[in-house]
Amino acid sequence: MPLFECKHISKTYGSVVAIQEASFSLEKGEIRAVLGGNGSGKSTLAKIIGGAVKPDAGELYFKGKPFEVNSPSQAKKLKVIITSQELSLLTNLTVEENLVLPSIPRKGRLFIDKNAMKAKASAILEKIGLSSELGVLVEDLPANKQFMVEFAKSLLQEPEILVIDEITSALFRQEVEIFKNIVRELSAKGCGILFISHRMSEIFSICDSVTVMRNGSVIDTFPISEVNEDMLVGMLTAYKENIGGQTKENRAIEQSDRVLLSVKDMTLKRFGTRVSLDAKQGEVIGIAGLQGQGQSDFVRTLYGLNGHVHIRLDDKELQIDSVHKSVQEGLAFLSGDREREGTFSVRSIAENLEAVNSSALSRKALNQKRLLDSYGVKYDNASQQIRNLSGGNQQKVVIARWTGTNPKVLIADDPTKGIDVQARGDVHEIFGDLAASGSVVIMVSSDDEELVHLTKPLKNSRIMVMYDGKFVKTLMGEDITVHNIISASLPREGVVGK
C-alpha cells in the first residue's frame, strides 16, 4: 500500500487547465523529485496536497484512507506538510514565533508556553545551523536564511508527507548540504518526500525517483537510476536543443567597440563603495557573487531606483533622477520577483504588455499577438487577467513588455527565479537576440550555472563577480566556469581589506 496516492486529480482556474487527470503514488521513505515546465501544474499539485487548493475532481488517499481536507490546518493535523518558495513566514514575528506558529506550545491548555517555544525553536535552529538567529525578526533575515527557517518550520511539524516546493533555489551551497542531510534523515524515518526543483544536480544527488509533469499531466515516473539529465530534459520539452546553450552554437554578434553604457564611480549606498562599468554594444554581462554582495544594489542603483545617478548612454551624459527617466532613455529592468515587481495581476495580459510602451512612454500600441506568439505565451485571449497564466508565462509577458520597446540596455535581476528549464532557455535566447541587435544585457543571477550557460556561448560577454559592494573579478571567454565564479566570490585576503 502506497503512503500517499493521487488519482485523476484535475483543477482549472477560469479557462486555464492547471492539472488534468494527474495520478501518482508515493511510498514510505521515498524521496520523489517532481519535474516539470512552467504551468505544468507542480505547484498546484503541491497546494492541493497541502490542503490550500481544492481540486475540481479526483481522489487522494493517505495511508490507504481517503484524504479529504478542507484547509491547510486539517492537512497539518494529518502530518501532511508543504513548504514552498512562496514563504509562509510572517516578517513581523521573530524566528521562533514563526517556527511554532502552526502548533504553538501551550501551558495550562490556554496560554503560550514561551520556554517550550524557545526550546523547540533552538533545537531545530541548531540543526540547520542558525542558532544565532533566535529572537531575530524574520524581516531582518537575509533571503537564504528565510528559506532555511521556512524549511525548519515544516520540520517542526513532524511531517509524514513533506512537499518541498523550490525552496532550495535561494540557498547557499553549504545550506543545501544541510538540507540534503535532513531530507535523507526524514526519509530514513519513513517520511515520504515530494521534492519540486529545477536544479538537476540536487535531484540526482538526493532523490530516489522522479515524476515528470507536462501541461498539467503526469507523464511518467522513473527510478532515478534509470534516467539522466538529458532524458529528463527531453521529456520536459519539445525542443531540447535549446537548453542552456549547451548544444547551441556560438551566436554571431555584431562586433562593436562602441561603449554604449558607461557608469563612473557610482555609489552603492548600502556598502559605501563606488563602482564603474563600461558596456559595449552587443555585450551580455553576467553579475555574479555570493548572496547580497551588492549585485542587486548595483543594478537597482543603475536603474535609478536608489536616487540620482549619473551615466553616459549612447554618447549622451545623463542625470537619471527617476525610473521614468531611465525608461525614457532606453533602460529596461526585469525583476525576478514577478508578484511584487513584475505583473499587474488583476489587469489583462494586453495591459500588462503595454505598461511600459503606452503608459510610461506614450508610444503607439504594440503588435501584441505577434509578441506573445513569438515568445510562445500560452493564453486564452489577451483581455484575460494575467494572474490566470502560469508563472513562467507571466514572466514572458513581462519580458515582452520590455523587448517590445527596443531598450538600449536591459537590466535583469535574477529574472528566471522559479522558472523551469525550458522557459529559462527561452529567456536566455531572447537576451542573446537582444544583444545581437545591439543592446546591452546586464543580468544578475543567484545561479552560477545559469550565468555560465548564458554567457559562455556568446563572444561578446563577460561575468563580473562582486564582493562586499565591489567588482572583484571579471571573467571572459574560456575563464567563464562555475568553478572560477565560486573561487572569485569567496572572501580572500587581499580582496577584502577587513
Binding site: L87, L90, N98, S103, L110, I112, A143, A170, L305, D414
Partner: protein, 331 residues
C-alpha cells in the same frame, strides 16, 4: 540600560508617547493645575471611554480589519442598560445584558467578516446602522437614569487616590494581556501581516478574525458602561462620535491600518493625545468659529508627526517595510 533604550526607541508606541509628553508640557503652561490630582481624575472621567474604545479598535486593526460599529455599539449598550434598569432590573444584570448586546454585535461582525468574507469597512458600516438603529428603536428619545451611586462611584476614587475609571482601563488591558498570552495573540499579529500565509501555516484565521470582532464588541461595551457612569442616563445618539476618534487614536498610537504592528498602549497614548489636544483647545480661548479648524489641524499634525517619527526608523530601502523581498539578493 542600552538595550532598554534601544527597545524604547523601537517600541511602536514610542512616537505617541513623545507626542503626549510634548503636549503635556504645552498644556502644563496653559492649563492651571494641570498636574493636580483633581485635573487628572476629571481627565480620566472624560476620556476613559475613548481610551477603551481605542483599545477595542486596536484588536481589529492588528488583524488588518476595521470596526466602524464601535460607536453604534456604545449607543446600544448605553440605552439597553438604562432601559432595563428603568424597567426594574437590577443594575448589574442590566449591565450584563448590555455587555451581551455588545458581544452580539461583535459576533455579527465576526460572522459576516470572518466566515462570510465581507470587507470589514463596509460590513461594520452596515452593522453600525443595525446597532444605532436598534438603539434608537429601544429608546427613541434621551432619558432614563442609572443608580446615582454608580455615577458617584465612577467619578470617585476606587482605592485611595486611584480614580475609578482606571479600573475600566485596567480590565481592558487585562483582556489584552490574556489575548497576548494565548496562541491567538501571536496568530493575530501574524494574520494582520499576511492572512494567506497565516492560513497556509495552519492557523484557523477566520476564528481569529471572529475573536477580534467579538473582543472589539465586548471592549466597546465596557467603554459604554464607563460612559454611562459619566452620563448617568441613556441617549440613543451618545456613541456616534467615538468611531472615527477611536481609529484616529489608534493610528496616532502607531497601530498600523495595514495590520500586524502596534500595540494597545499606542492606542491608549493616541487617545490620551486626543484628550490633551481637546483640553488645550478648551483652555486657550480660541474664537468659536476657529475651534474646529484648530482641533482638526492639531489632530492632523499628530497623525503626521507620528508617521514621520515612525518613518525615520526605517530609512534604508525604497520598498514598503512590510513586504520584504522573497529570495531577492537584498538582505
Amino acid at each position: 540600560m542600552n538595550t532598554f533604550k534601544r527597545k524604547l526607541l523601537n517600541w511602536s508606541s514610542f512616537p505617541s508617547l513623545v507626542l503626549i509628553i510634548a503636549l503635556s508640557v504645552i498644556n502644563s503652561f496653559l492649563i492651571p493645575h494641570f498636574f493636580s490630582m483633581s485635573y487628572i481624575s476629571s481627565f480620566l472621567t472624560s476620556y476613559t471611554p475613548l481610551i477603551i474604545v481605542a483599545m477595542a479598535q486596536t484588536f481589529v486593526l492588528l488583524g488588518r480589519g476595521i470596526d466602524l460599529s464601535v460607536g453604534g455599539i456604545i449607543s446600544l449598550v448605553n440605552v439597553i442598560v438604562v432601559t432595563l434598569f428603568g424597567q426594574g432590573w437590577s443594575f448589574p444584570s442590566a449591565i450584563a445584558v448590555g455587555i451581551l448586546a455588545g458581544i452580539i454585535i461583535g459576533v455579527l461582525n465576526g460572522i459576516v467578516i470572518g466566515f462570510l468574507r465581507v470587507t470589514p469597512l463596509l460590513a461594520t458600516l452596515a452593522t453600525t446602522s443595525v446597532a444605532a438603529g436598534a438603539a434608537l428603536w429601544i429608546m427613541p428619545f434621551p432619558g432614563g437614569s442609572v443608580p446615582i451611586e454608580y455615577v458617584m462611584w465612577y467619578q470617585s476614587n476606587v482605592i485611595g487616590f486611584l480614580p475609578t475609571p482606571l479600573l475600566f482601563i485596567i480590565i481592558s488591558i487585562l483582556i489584552w494581556f490574556i489575548w497576548k498570552a494565548t496562541p491567538a495573540g501571536l496568530q493575530l499579529y501574524s494574520m494582520g501581516r499576511d492572512i494567506q500565509k497565516t492560513y497556509v501555516s495552519g492557523v484557523p484565521v477566520v476564528w481569529i478574525q471572529f475573536y477580534t470582532y467579538v473582543s472589539s464588541g465586548f471592549i466597546s461595551a465596557i467603554a459604554a458602561i464607563a460612559l454611562t457612569g459619566n452620563t448617568g442616563a441613556g441617549d440613543p445618539l451618545v456613541g456616534n462620535t467615538y468611531t472615527l476618534f477611536a481609529v484616529a487614536a489608534a493610528v496616532i498610537g502607531s497601530v498600523s491600518l495595514m495590520g500586524g504592528s502596534g500595540d494597545i498602549f499606542g492606542a491608549i497614548f493616541g487617545a490620551v493625545f486626543l484628550g490633551l489636544a481637546f483640553s488645550l483647545i478648551y483652555a486657550i480661548q480660541i474664537p468659536s468659529t476657529y475651534q474646529d479648524l484648530t482641533s482638526g489641524v492639531i489632530v492632523l499634525l499628530g497623525i503626521i508627526g507620528a508617521s514621520l517619527m515612525k518613518k525615520r526608523k526605517r530609512t534604508f530601502s525604497f520598498k514598503p517595510s512590510h513586504i520584504k523581498p522573497i529570495g531577492g539578493n537584498q538582505p
